[in-house]
């Protein structure tokens, strides 16, 4: 079986900011980007066969919070709709599956997060084992700091390497009006600043900001009508690792490496069903030119580059990445959208979008996009 052709045909994201004017329902951030993506594709709400969103009740601080976001769509007439309590990159995965079944020709995935609504690093502590870990309130920055410390002790990177990731990201973000943080800064100056959670300084951690993102995908015939140069999804896969921080090697990211393999991010494409992969394997394809990685901490970009097998020739995070804009539950989808935009604009022939979820890169997703249909 060959991979049925599905392509990204549209993407929009809101500028990542601390938004006093936006509520936890996401509606104020979503309405403008729906208008933008519909304007660019010429589609209307009634063209969308399946909607899928990603957001979090804990971020909003109330149960069933995603229901309010449906106001941005309009609940009448009834729509085929679903929601994941995950970054919306996984909502796009569910939408992709829906298009592959043939039940929808055009699907829209959106994600939103008002990360500034509470103290994010403490909220995320509630993702840990509720009996043994969460009662100790190990916040998300401290958990990432443990991972960074392990890497320093193992000689995998230095604090200077980490600062250089941040400096490069901020310089890249100068050209990205949606970034929350940007600017020319020397790594040596960053290293003179105080620790937030040793060995992490402020530049090693994603800023806390509010934002939303939307991606539209379409089946082959519709994609060619809607977009001059669709970004064809040649591989899409995700995996999770153990949730027990003490049971997994925090310097290995097997779920990222596994997702990249399953998505054919290397030199060889694989078909989605394992048995078929044997016959389909060994199709040589163009190398990845652009990779948008969802690394909310500087050292995690270093871990992900290795896990995904990205060489020095790959342009990593030309947008500035999550270190410059990390709206929770939207930033992963935005990575795929930005990778797709690189293909749709002709800047890249093959690009990769990555998303992560959970403490210390526990869960990872890879989407490979190509300018040529398979």
């Amino acid at each position: 079986m060959s991979v049925p052709e599905v392509a990204v045909v549209g993407f929009a994201q809101s500028p990542c900011r601390v938004r006093e004017d936006a509520t936890t329902s996401g509606v104020e951030m979503l309405v403008p980007i729906f208008a933008e993506v519909f304007g660019a594709t010429g589609l209307t709400k009634s063209d969308i066969g399946f909607w899928c969103s990603g957001s979090s009740d804990y971020l909003a601080g109330r149960a069933f919070s995603f229901v309010s976001a449906v106001d941005a769509i309009g609940a009448v007439p009834p729509t085929m709709e679903s929601h994941v309590e995950m970054d919306a990159a996984w909502a796009l995965y569910e939408a992709w599956a829906k298009v592959l079944t043939g039940e929808a020709e055009i699907a829209l995935a959106y994600g939103f997060g008002k990360s500034s609504g509470a103290e994010l690093r403490r909220v995320l502590a509630l993702q840990l084992d509720p009996y043994l870990l969460a009662p100790l309130w190990p916040d998300s920055v401290s958990v990432a700091a443990l991972q960074a410390r392990l890497g320093l002790e193992a000689g995998r990177w230095t604090e200077k390497d980490m600062a250089e990731v941040a400096a490069r990201s901020r310089a890249a973000a100068v050209g990205n009006p949606d970034a929350q943080v940007s600017g020319a800064v020397a790594a040596s100056d960053l290293l003179a600043r105080p620790y937030v959670a040793e060995p992490l300084r402020a530049h090693d951690c994603a800023p806390v900001g509010d934002g939303a993102a939307v991606v539209i995908i379409a089946s082959a015939d519709r994609a060619r009508e809607l977009c001059e140069r669709p970004a064809w999804i040649s591989g899409f896969a995700h995996q999770v690792d153990s949730g027990s921080l003490g049971a997994r090697d925090l310097l290995a990211v097997p779920s990222a490496a596994g997702a990249a393999r399953a998505a054919g991010a290397g030199a060889v494409e694989v078909a989605p069903i394992e048995e078929a992969a044997v016959e389909e394997a060994a199709v040589e394809v163009a190398p990845i030119e652009v990779a948008e990685l969802h690394a909310p901490f500087s050292h995690q970009e270093l871990l992900l580059r290795e896990a995904l097998g990205l060489g020095d020739g790959v342009a990593v995070n030309p947008s500035g990445g999550a270190l410059c804009a990390n709206p929770m539950f939207a930033a992963g989808l935005a990575r795929i959208g930005l990778a797709a935009r690189a293909v749709m604009s002709g800047r890249a022939e093959r690009a990769l979008g990555h998303a992560t979820s959970g403490p210390a890169l526990q869960q990872n997703l890879v989407c490979v996009l190509s300018g040529e249909a398979s």
């Binding site: 109330r62 149960a63 690792d241």
Partner: protein
């Protein structure tokens, strides 16, 4: 284009007002074990896991599927978390079915739970 999908096995826990004898992971594993036994499979035979749960505040755990990955044998596999409010049980089955119909996976474990006694849910 659409592949056929069938139910291979089902399992559910004993329903009680308070299951103080098991953790959240223990409760979910009980249902999963019964389903794979009914199907004549083992957890290792499962290609992907879909967890349905709404809302997180009922147990006081944010995105509990992350903590449940080990208990559900999901480590190293795709794990999706569905939350569609009151419809979540049915929606979990729909998402799992779509993954098979799309040709992405062969055997998917769909599991939905509530352990409301962990909090004052109502």
């Amino acid at each position: 284009m659409k592949r056929s999908a069938a139910v291979l096995g089902v399992g559910q826990t004993r329903h009680r007002s308070k299951r103080t004898d098991v953790s959240i992971a223990g409760l979910c594993r009980e249902a999963a074990d019964r389903a794979v036994l009914d199907a004549g499979l083992e957890l290792a035979d499962i290609d992907a896991v879909v967890v349905g749960k709404a809302p997180d505040l009922f147990e006081g755990v944010m995105m509990p599927e992350l903590y449940l990955a080990d208990a559900l044998g999901a480590a190293g596999k795709p794990l999706l978390r569905v939350h569609t409010a009151g419809s979540v049980g049915g929606a979990t089955g729909i998402v799992a079915t779509s993954l098979v119909q799309a040709g992405l996976h062969r055997r998917v474990l769909a599991l939905a739970f509530e352990k409301q006694s962990e909090s004052n849910a109502m």
